[in-house]
Amino acid sequence: MQRQVALIKQSLLDQGYLDEQFMELEELQDDANPNFVEEVATLYFKDSARLINNIDQALERGSFDFNRLDNYMHQFKGSSTSIGASKVKTECTMFREYCRAGNAEGCLRTFKQLKKEHATLRKKLEQYFQLARQAGPKETARRPK
């Protein structure tokens, strides 16, 4: 079962959903903190849901305060980077470029795509963590020095 978990993770990496930062997070897990990555992910999805909500509301109002939107997206990009959410991060970057160009249409389009990537990642990670928990502690737990 652990092999299955490893395969899922590898496929997420290969498909670009996650990058090396995710691996860095896993390196920080040990026997005393076996669920660290899942905890970070939980915080991330809670926080990003809040940001998505704020951006949705700002966009629905119709008035495009590009500074404010860019600000939200800066936060979103930051936390996405910290967790290794590669595709989401890419969408954030694009959104910010549209903000800087004052391109409302581009912002709307990109945001739609961003939400899709975000939802996909959430689902995949939920599956991954569930399986990882079932599989038990990994052999790759950091060895004490």
Binding site: Q21, E24, L25, E27, L28, D30, N33, F36, E39, V40, L43, Y44, D47, H74, Q75, K77, G78, S79, T81, S82, I83
Partner: protein, 183 residues
């Protein structure tokens, strides 16, 4: 005749290779992102540091007693070895926090490291000019934290060794005096 205790019997370790360790480095981390706070806290704990995390520069100043409401008298026992702060934060930025810390007589000696997701050279220059110890690009790596910790531990170790050496000299001095008195 009372036996004069030799210096070695005093409570001083002669073993300098495994130093009775100075206290764990205590790091104050400042970041408005909840994800980054969790991350930096873990990085620091894995690197054997004691960590206090706050979510804003204002709270950092409160913690240090620099917010003007408290005099720093009550904070003399507060031992912070390193401050790591995000650059872009709402309200007070990490840069402004850096300036406030360097203006304070109580805390200006504490190394301050700035973290930022943006690799902007003028920003980096400005921080270093203002006295930042280092500027780290996010996401911060475990290697970065270990490097910081090692260089700070060396500095602390030097201080610790000086104190120890001083005590040894004092003990040795007392021993000589007692020996002479015996005659």
């Amino acid at each position: 005749m009372a036996e004069v205790m030799r210096p070695e019997k005093f409570d001083i370790s002669n073993d300098t290779s495994s130093l009775a360790s100075p206290e764990l480095l205590h790091v104050l981390a400042v970041d408005d992102s909840i994800v980054d706070r969790k991350f930096i806290e873990r990085l620091l704990k894995v690197s054997s540091c004691k960590v206090t995390v706050v979510d804003s520069a204002t709270r950092a100043l409160q913690y240090l007693g620099l917010d003007g409401d408290n005099s720093s008298v009550g904070f003399q026992d507060l031992k912070i070895n390193l401050i790591m702060t995000d650059y872009s934060m709402p309200g007070m930025t990490g840069y402004e926090l850096l300036k406030k810390i360097k203006e304070s007589s109580a805390f200006r000696e504490i190394p301050v490291v700035i973290m930022s997701s943006e690799n902007i050279l003028p920003r980096i220059d400005r921080c270093l000019e203002e006295g930042a110890e280092d500027f780290l690009l996010k996401p911060v790596k475990l290697a970065d934290v270990k490097r910081l910790r090692d260089s700070l531990m060396k500095a602390e170790e030097r201080v610790f060794k000086n104190i120890k050496h001083k005590r040894e000299l004092e003990a040795s001095d007392i021993y000589s005096q007692l020996k002479r008195a015996k005659i």
